[in-house]
């Protein structure tokens, strides 16, 4: 036992792989990140200021994507919505990711009765209907982005947990783990320092898919008035407002709809690309 064999970690950078294999994903996600991070600085107008005199304008030189029924600039509101969507992404991935990984890691790594109990808890969580849980949480507390997204984050826990558990079970009997055990490391330390780093790849893939889901849920809940509260913009509330003017100003609904679709498409393509990347480097 001279050398501890570690599984092949990705060697060439994931970023360059994605740039090469799915430039569309890279472009869409980059645009989304720029909008989310720099939105407030990029916005040509205020996101919340109403201007009834300029209501429902079609795209023009002053308002590049037109204005909504209260005369607010659509482009600025879209940029604001991207920021909100990014927050939704983060809250869901952090809640789901941290809890799910912890559950899965402990369940898969330790096995036995712990696994049995934790797996049942995860299955119960998986059985909850996401929207219903979100609506109940929002009704009990109050409608806000954080409350709505924590509910969605809880629904994402099983996804992360299943992947983490699977990887942990696979790795449990591998040589490098046995070696660590032989060196006297505690089980918890093995999980944290040996098993966890090896599941980052699969977890990132789940994060990109569940994050995209989070953005959709955020839009859906805000569409129902349960997410972001006015005057702050959100894709969902913008779509709902646009729907009232579908025949008067269809460009409103089309712009918002296309933006959401582009972001979701970008994140899903990114997830696919990452999945290819890790599959390839595992072989």
């Amino acid at each position: 036992m001279t050398e501890i064999s570690t599984p092949v970690r990705p060697q060439s950078g994931a970023v360059s792989y994605i740039l090469r294999r799915s430039p569309v994903a890279a472009l869409l996600v980059a645009l989304f990140l720029i909008a989310a991070l720099l939105g407030p600085w990029l916005a040509p107008h205020s996101m919340t200021d109403t201007n009834l005199g300029h209501a429902l304008q079609p795209p023009n030189a002053t308002y590049w994507l037109g204005t909504d029924a209260l005369g607010r600039d659509v482009l600025s509101r879209l940029l604001g919505s991207a920021g909100i969507a990014a927050q939704a992404f983060l809250i869901v991935v952090l809640t789901g990711g941290v809890l799910g990984t912890l559950f899965g890691l402990v369940a898969g790594g330790i096995g036995g009765l712990t696994d049995l109990v934790l797996s049942r808890v995860i299955e119960i969580l998986q059985g909850f209907p996401t929207v219903l849980v979100a609506i109940v949480i929002v009704a009990l507390l109050s409608p806000s982005l954080t409350n709505a997204m924590i509910a969605v984050g809880l629904a994402a826990v099983p996804d992360f947990a299943r992947v983490a558990r699977g990887v942990a079970i696979q790795l449990r009997e591998r040589e490098f783990i046995q070696a660590a055990r032989g060196l006297g490391m505690s089980e918890m330390r093995i999980l944290a320092s040996e098993v966890l780093p090896n599941m980052v790849g699969p977890l990132i893939i789940i994060a990109s898919f569940d994050g995209a889901q989070a953005i959709m849920w955020e839009a859906a809940l805000s569409f129902l008035g349960l997410g972001v509260q006015p005057p702050y913009p959100s894709f969902g509330s913008m779509l709902r407002e646009a729907q009232n003017f579908l025949a008067i100003q269809p460009s409103l609904a089309i712009t918002v709809g296309l933006t959401v679709s582009a972001i979701i498409l970008g994140l899903n393509l990114l997830g696919d690309g990452l999945s290819d990347y890790y599959d390839r480097s595992d072989k």
């Binding site: 009834l52 079609p58 030189a61 025949a247």
Partner: protein, 520 residues
């Protein structure tokens, strides 16, 4: 797809709509209607008038529904009052009463009832039912919101089966207008009025699936039977889905629509716009005057200055509404001249008044505006006021509530700062506005009843001499505009949309409509 235009809202609407329909071939409408549970099966039912409404009703009891916008559904069809206010003449036509006389001193009114009228359960309608209905509304234990309409009546008695005599404590010029909103109910079945109401109206109650639909069916025993077999109101909260329902024929009519719906309907063939006189309704903010800091009139006046009514009516109502700060429309003889233009939009003035009351950027006014779901224009109103106040440094939130929850929060157990609202102006009688839940001294949403107000309302309602009456009502308007318990925004007509056949709907000014003439 769209050309940049500066102001051409209407032009853009027509052009975009045409393009839009060409693009989608109308299929989007049908698909949307399908997804909202509307089916074209309604047409096959034969002779059913299917009407889209945006929200549910609170109760089936016609004497208990204070703020339900859609209370007119049951009140207009299942029940009848003694008289009906003709929307053209604004005077009383016979309904359950055939004729009436008043004594020379104006204190005794005799009503001769129609003969041959029966209740839906078969029993004959008599004078005792009228007496019962009036005393029920007056009964403090019942707590009817219509009680203020009948304060002048000191005694109601049945002289014989077909004659009712009302004795008044003082003269009331608007007695007939008051009686027009008091629906006559059946004493024998009063226990089941909230589940199976029995009336004398042209339609009998069939069923109410809360949140879904209300159905009434033709009553064959009516003296002037309706031409449709049934009316079914479907609750479709989404305005676009309601329009889609009209387009694909699953709805024959949509009740109480907004400017954006009228604009869209005007550019589509086969949809008629049915409307009342342009001052039958007003939109407003009610302020909870019992809660600090809204008990300070400077705060309320500041809020009145913080809203651009002209821009709101032009863009949100596409010019179909008329801006005003005074709920009394200029068409009424009692209107205070020049008052509609008071409190022009002035954020500096609003900020200054709020500063006087102790609120500034450093110590912002924090408040919540409630608005009922299904009323897009009211929500826009809330959002505009929110934005204007936030811009001068205050912290305003807007909360949308289901209509039944909303009624609880603003009326049943008042717990609110500000709410959007709308009311009938009651153009047939100057007293009407001051006798209903919008401004009645004994019970109004703003919880506003300053010293002397009740006396003034009572005096004005009892005044027979026209000049003196005008003077008293103008005094009331001055008080209202100074105290600002509610911020009036605009006057507007009631709008219905429907097929050609539904044009014979008669929309009454006080929320009692006549569906009998509609033939499909």
């Amino acid at each position: 797809m769209t050309k940049p235009t500066k102001t051409g809202l209407a032009g853009a609407a027509v052009m975009n709509r045409a393009q839009f329909l060409k693009l989608l071939g109308g299929s989007a409408f049908a698909a949307m209607a399908g997804s909202f549970g509307l089916t074209t099966a309604a047409l096959a039912e034969g002779g059913d008038l299917v009407v889209g409404i945006s929200s549910d009703i609170k109760t089936l009891d016609p004497q208990m529904s204070p703020l339900d916008v859609f209370r007119h559904t049951i009140r207009s069809t299942v029940f009848e009052a003694l008289v009906f206010i003709n929307p053209e003449t604004l005077s009383a036509d016979p309904m359950l009463a055939d004729s009436w006389q008043k004594s020379d001193d104006g204190l005794t009114w005799t009503f001769n009832l129609k003969s041959g009228v029966t209740w839906h359960n078969g029993s004959p309608f008599t004078a005792a039912d009228v007496v019962y209905s009036i005393t029920r509304v007056q009964d403090a234990k019942v707590g009817s919101p219509f009680a203020p309409q009948l304060t002048a009546i000191s005694k109601a008695e049945a002289k014989d089966d077909k004659t009712v005599v009302l004795t008044l404590a003082h003269t009331v010029p608007g007695l007939l207008a008051n009686l027009a909103v008091i629906q006559i109910v059946n004493e024998a079945s009063i226990g089941t009025i909230t589940t199976a109401p029995v009336g004398t109206g042209p339609f009998k109650f069939a069923n109410w699936a809360p949140g879904d639909r209300i159905r009434v069916e033709k009553y064959d025993g009516h003296r002037d039977p309706p031409k449709v077999a049934a009316i079914e109101w479907r609750i479709v909260p989404d305005s676009q889905a309601r329009l889609a329902g009209l387009q694909d024929g699953s709805l024959q009519m949509v009740a109480l629509v907004e400017g954006k719906d009228v604009i869209q309907a005007q550019s589509s063939a086969g949809i008629e716009v049915i409307q009342t006189k342009p001052y039958v309704l007003y939109e407003n903010f009610n302020i909870n005057t019992k809660r600090a800091p809204f008990d300070d009139k400077r705060v309320r006046q500041a809020l009145a200055f913080a809203f651009d009514r002209a821009a709101y009516t032009k863009s949100i109502w596409f010019g179909f509404a008329r801006p005003t700060i005074n709920p009394v429309p200029p068409e009424m003889a009692t209107y205070l001249p020049g008052s509609a233009e008071q409190y022009p939009f002035d954020l500096d003035k609003a900020a200054a008044l709020l500063a006087e009351a102790g609120f500034s950027k450093d110590r912002p006014l924090t408040m919540e505006i409630l608005t009922p779901t299904g009323f897009d224009s009211l929500k826009s109103m809330a959002l505009v006021l929110q934005d204007n106040l936030n811009r001068i440094g205050h912290k305003v939130t807007v909360r949308e509530l289901e209509i039944t929850v909303w009624i609880d929060r603003i009326l049943t157990k008042p717990d609110y700062d500000l709410t959007t609202n709308n009311y009938n102006t009651g153009p047939e009688d100057p007293a009407s506005m001051f006798n209903s839940p919008n401004l009645a001294p004994t019970a109004n949403v703003s919880l506003w009843n300053p010293p002397g107000y009740a006396d003034l309302v009572g005096k004005a309602a009892a005044e027979i001499k026209p000049e003196k009456q005008v003077e008293l009502y103008q005094e009331l308007q001055k008080l209202l505009l100074e105290e600002m318990p509610q911020i009036t925004i605009d006057h507007l007509p009631l709008f219905f949309l429907g097929s050609e056949a539904t044009k014979s709907l008669v929309i009454g000014p006080s929320g009692i409509d006549d569906y009998k003439k509609i033939a499909l």
